[in-house]
């Protein structure tokens, strides 16, 4: 019995659809149209300039620097956050006392407002009164004391450390649930074969979690194209764009320099990158479903 039930179905869908179309789909489509204009945002006057915004964009060194920084955040997440999360997940999945509490703590930063996190870490990095410099002073490493966020050379690394502090817990939780999906007999067999923890991880866990890790890598990229709050609060883009990422650059163009047409072109670029990533991710997740 597969009767179509259009009236009832659309009755229940109607509120969600109207909200979604008006405040999600329509803006995401209109931005494509807006990207073809020179437009200051507040004034009604728009001048059609075709794809000129995109031409300028791809030779705009500041934008390319922002793209580079964004991709560096993504890459760093892949090589630091994901492996660290895997180690934590393996430990937390063991039946040991206290693991429930540890799991709660590891994920805790994910629920705190990123503005609050940014302010907390800004203070930790404070050159005079920040905890990090104070600790370095106490243990006799005065030489390493530093204006962490103020120095062009360390600002980006400092922001990365904070990003790791927030997101490692997130990937840990995903790994924990994925690891539970591997049947325990495989680990028994590995034990019989004399594998130690490290070998088990390398030869069994990682190959079994291939798809999960693939999805995570995509998350790292799409996440870095979404993040805004932390960097905006901690450095506002930093000196000589040292910590500028695509989203902060977009914000600056749209609401500080009033180049809304140009900023729309940046939006379209981010949107297209997201689309490619969604396609990849859905494909990966389907592969998992079929196996």
């Amino acid at each position: 019995m597969r009767k179509k039930n259009n009236v009832v179905a659309y009755f229940f869908l109607f509120p969600a659809l109207i909200m979604f179309v008006l405040f999600f789909i329509y803006p995401n489509l209109e931005v494509i149209y807006l990207s073809l204009f020179k437009w200051a945002g507040i004034s009604p006057k728009k001048t059609f300039i075709g794809f000129y915004n995109f031409q300028v964009l791809f030779s705009d060194l500041d934008f390319l620097k922002a793209v580079f920084n964004t991709l560096m955040i993504a890459f760093q997440s892949m090589v630091v956050q994901v492996p660290m999360a895997l180690i934590l997940a393996i430990l937390l999945n063991k039946k040991m006392k206290g693991n429930g509490t540890f799991s709660t703590i590891v994920f805790l930063p994910m629920v705190i407002s990123l503005v609050a996190v940014g302010i907390i870490w800004r203070w930790l990095y404070d050159p005079e009164y920040g905890a990090i410099n104070l600790i370095l002073g106490k243990i006799g490493l005065q030489g390493l004391q530093h204006a962490w966020l103020g120095d062009v050379n360390t600002a980006f690394l400092s922001v990365l450390a904070t990003i790791n502090w927030v997101y490692i817990g997130f990937y840990t939780v995903i790994f924990m649930s994925a690891l539970k999906g591997i049947s325990p007999e495989i680990f028994e067999a590995a034990k019989v074969d004399g594998f130690n923890e490290f070998q088990t991880t390398l030869r069994i866990r990682i190959p079994m979690l291939k798809e999960t890790i693939g999805v995570m890598f995509i998350m790292c990229i799409s996440g870095s194209f979404k993040s805004f709050d932390l960097i905006w609060v901690m450095t506002g883009g930093g000196q000589v764009n040292s910590t500028e990422i695509v989203t902060t650059y977009l914000y600056r163009m749209a609401f500080r320099r009033m180049e809304s047409g140009y900023a729309s072109a940046i939006s379209v670029t981010i949107f297209l990158i997201c689309l490619v990533l969604i396609a990849l991710q859905l494909k990966l997740m389907k592969i998992t479903a079929q196996e």
């Binding site: 799991s103 709660t104 995570m216 989203t247």
Partner: protein
């Protein structure tokens, strides 16, 4: 072939395994404790120093406060506009999550139970919405809100919040509804429940666990949302907490005590909700990535 050990060898072997277990346990707890300290320390540091004045902070940042200066919290609450922002956040968050809970479960009902033209398209539209960055629609959204006269109003935040919360929420509730056996509804139809009432009388009450997950998750997300609040709100009497916090940071940059108090006031509600519902929140946030559909 069997291997025989004499007593001494057995004892040595036993000792070896015992030692190995101890070593593993030691590694386990030292690694996790080390990481837990890294996570907790910044929060603890803010807590301790939220109760001191500047002089105490500069002279002895490590010590517990001599006098607990709760006045820092009062200063942040009244002078720093955190109090009014707190109420604004409560209003915006509650209205948004109530709408999301209702609207998303209705849509999830259609998408999980009913057959209709365009079902696949609509499902993929919502699914794709889970991954689009909110920042891309910022400029047209502001234009739209201006045309609707909603800039600098709470409804101007609530509508976009609901729209952006829908994809994940529908996804979670729909998955849950797919797991409810169809026989439940068939029995209800036999009992004379009309098709329109099936949702309110049967499916909605039965899927409440997933609706709770959605509501709790969205409380955390919406409470913490900053970008829309930054662009769509203009005057401080409308600010939500993250927005007020950011302005507060600019004006109280030299007063560490009240600044720390303000940070904690903004963070504590979600921390408490997380401690109560930690399992639900962790699984909810990870849901879009581990579920294979």
């Amino acid at each position: 072939m069997s291997i025989c050990f004499n007593r001494k060898e057995k004892r040595q072997l036993n000792d070896y395994f015992l030692w190995k277990r101890k070593r593993n346990t030691f590694f386990h707890y030292s690694f996790l404790s080390f990481y837990a300290i890294i996570v907790i320390f910044p929060i603890f540091w803010v807590l301790v120093n939220s109760l001191k004045d500047n002089l105490e902070i500069f002279q002895n940042p490590w010590a517990l406060p001599n006098i607990y200066r709760w006045s820092n919290y009062i200063k942040a609450w009244y002078e720093g506009n955190i109090g009014s922002a707190f109420f604004n956040s409560v209003i915006v968050t509650i209205i948004s999550v109530v709408i999301v809970g209702l609207v998303a479960s209705m849509a999830a009902y259609s998408l999980s139970r009913l057959q209709f033209a365009g079902k696949k398209t609509i499902f993929y539209l919502f699914l794709g919405g889970m991954y689009v960055a909110p920042v891309t629609s910022l400029i047209p959204l502001l234009k739209l809100l201006r045309n609707l006269n909603l800039v600098n109003t709470h409804w101007g935040l609530i509508f976009p919040y609901v729209a952006f919360a829908l994809p994940l929420s529908i996804f979670i509730i729909r998955s849950y509804m797919l797991g409810i056996p169809k026989t439940v509804e068939e029995a209800a139809i036999v009992d004379g429940v009309a098709p329109f009432q099936l949702f309110w009388k049967i499916m909605f009450p039965l899927s409440l666990p997933s609706v709770y997950t959605v509501v709790i998750l969205q409380i955390v997300y919406i409470w913490n949302e900053f970008l829309f609040a930054l662009v769509f709100l203009r005057t401080s009497n409308k600010f939500t907490l993250p927005r007020a916090l950011q302005v507060f940071q600019g004006s109280f940059i030299t007063e560490f005590g009240p600044l720390n108090a303000a940070v904690l006031l903004a963070a504590i509600p979600t921390i408490i909700i997380y401690i109560i519902f930690s399992e639900r929140i962790r699984n909810g946030m990870a849901i879009g990535f581990s579920s294979n559909e």
